[in-house]
Amino acid sequence: MRAGKFRRSGVRARPTVRRSGKAGYLFVAPYVLLLVAVGIYPVGYAIDLALTSFTAHFRGLANFVNSYSDFRFLPAFEHIGLFLAIWLSALVVLVVGLSLVLQSLSGRVSAAYRFVFYLPAALAGAGSVMLWLFMLDPGVSPWDFVLHWLGYKTLGASLASGNLPVVFALIAFWSGAGSWIVVMHGALATIPEDTLEAAKLDGAGAWRTAIHIKLPLIRKWIGYMLIGALAAGSQLFAEPQLVNEATRGFVAQAWSPDQLAYILSFSLDNFNYAAAIAIDLLVVALICAAVILFRTKLFRLDE
């Protein structure tokens, strides 16, 4: 059954009939239990830790203030800010651009390209970082000529600290852009033929149709992608951690905020600072989630 056929059958037009009573609780209860146990309770516990000292005395926001004055705090947020700026720009320009180009191809060709772009997702996480360490190691890398052209003769040179935001954006793009292209392609596919036909009749070329018709219609999805990538990108851990291992500690151990919180959480007297930084990051993620939910209206609460 084709997606379009399904949509046009108008199944959603009928009113929904929900039964009231206790049965509803029984269906959701097991999920709610786990949600509380590993979703809501740990957050509450972390907030509690962030507001107290390690002898369990209430300290108000002192842990937050103290964590800000840690010498590693500001650099970690600077690093992540730089990474996000590069990664988000690449996402907007390349994912949207590639999706528009893909849409102009025939269904089968476009599907083949989407599959290729999506393929690295299977290797996400540690695997893709490991693979990219080889890609950035002159002598081993199939991109050797590019590295030489850029003047990098060793892995250490490729991973010079100024390069890291770009390197991490490259890895994130390689393993993550494909799934966003699939999402964006799905969003573009919902634009009705009539709309595009009308634009054509009015004399709009492919370029003007893309800029003035298609882009405004998928604006919400671009917003969703940006905010989702912002929330996920602010939590960078595997990439800098593995690069730290690979460079034998030449790259700062607390390159990203998640790494800093992780280091702090393994020393008893800093436990509460770690909780404070985890809460900082969680607040960022929560704000992003709230913006996606209430501003883009992409996720249906009811109908």
Binding site: M1, A3, V11, R14, T16, V17, R18, R19, S20, G21, A23, G24, Y25, F27, V28, Y31, V32, L34, L35, V38, G39, P42, V43, Y45, A121, A122, L123, G125, A126, G127, M130, D137, V140, T154, L155, G156, T190, A231, S234, Q235, F237, A238, Q241, L242, E245, A246, R248, D258, S265, A274, I277, A278, L282, A285, L286, C288, A289, L293, R300, L301
Partner: protein, 277 residues
């Protein structure tokens, strides 16, 4: 749409068919065991341990996710109860929060309840899959499904019976999607097992993601190169060909699960759930 549901219900197995499937499974074992042996021999040692740990965590997580998500989404879609809307909002918010954001709070919690080195420390968080609840909610929240349920209720069908005999058999596409997405997310997760196992040197618990990290931990650089980042070369604890094999082996299970679930993932029922309006 009605015909799709009816056809899916009609497709359920009879006792005779079940017996045939049992017999075929036995014969298939004859054909498969040597191949499985071959695979196990190829991945013996550490790689086998990491892969089987990963398989255990991800499979257990996906099983929990399916068992919790499908009824929860069904309940949210077909029942009215105080707190329903709030639960839906919380579900979507948690689903939009990146998994890494919860890792340190989970670590602090696991530490306080002494679950740090336990497999449950990663399996339970993997089993929480709000996205699956939302998918299941979308799947059952269609007019045609409500109509089907309505007629069953008029015929005197009880709540549990309705779920077991109508909703559960129809849930295959959404189950496939939950299994694949959840499996992929847990399989590639790095931060959670790192925090729960790596820091404590629980090497016997390492999933494949940490096994990959092991390849990089060869101790500090000493001698003339120390301090000169520019001269640093990639040093791994195994030769590149072994690491390439490890990376490929780590991808195979994801491809297998995708292959099994693929039939439903691209199907109209899933795409038509209204993700793109």
């Amino acid at each position: 749409m009605r015909s799709f549901f009816a056809a899916a219900l009609a497709r359920r197995m009879s006792a005779g068919q079940a017996a045939s499937v049992g017999l075929l499974t036995l014969v298939a074992a004859f054909f498969l065991v040597p191949i499985v042996w071959l695979v196990l021999e190829a991945i013996s040692g550490d790689i086998g341990l990491w892969l089987s740990n990963s398989a255990f965590y991800s499979t257990a997580g996906a099983a929990i996710a399916v068992v919790l998500c499908v009824p929860a989404g069904y309940g949210l879609a077909t029942h009215e109860f105080p707190g329903r809307r709030a639960l839906l909002i919380i579900t979507i918010v948690v689903m939009l929060i990146p998994t890494n954001a919860l890792v340190l709070p989970l670590f602090l919690e696991a530490n306080s309840v002494h679950l740090l080195a336990s497999p449950l420390a990663v399996i339970l968080p993997y089993g929480l899959f709000p996205f699956g609840v939302y998918l299941s909610y979308l799947y059952f929240n269609t007019g045609s499904f409500h109509a089907l349920l309505q007629s069953a209720r008029i015929d005197g069908c009880g709540e549990w019976q309705a779920f077991r005999t109508i909703a559960a058999p129809l849930a295959a596409p959404v189950v496939a999607l939950i299994v694949f997405l959840n499996f992929l997310a847990s399989w590639t997760n790095f931060f959670l097992p790192w925090v729960m196992y790596w820091s404590l040197d629980e090497t016997s618990r390492y999933p494949v993601a940490l096994g990959i990290a092991v390849q990089l931990s060869g101790g500090e650089v000493s001698g003339p190169f120390a301090g000169y980042t520019g001269l640093l070369r990639l040093q791994t604890s195994s030769p590149p060909s072994d690491i390439a094999f490890l990376l490929l082996a780590s991808v195979v299970p994801v491809l297998v699960v995708f292959g099994l679930a693929q039939r439903w993932i691209g199907s109209g029922q899933v795409q038509g759930m209204g993700f793109f309006r």
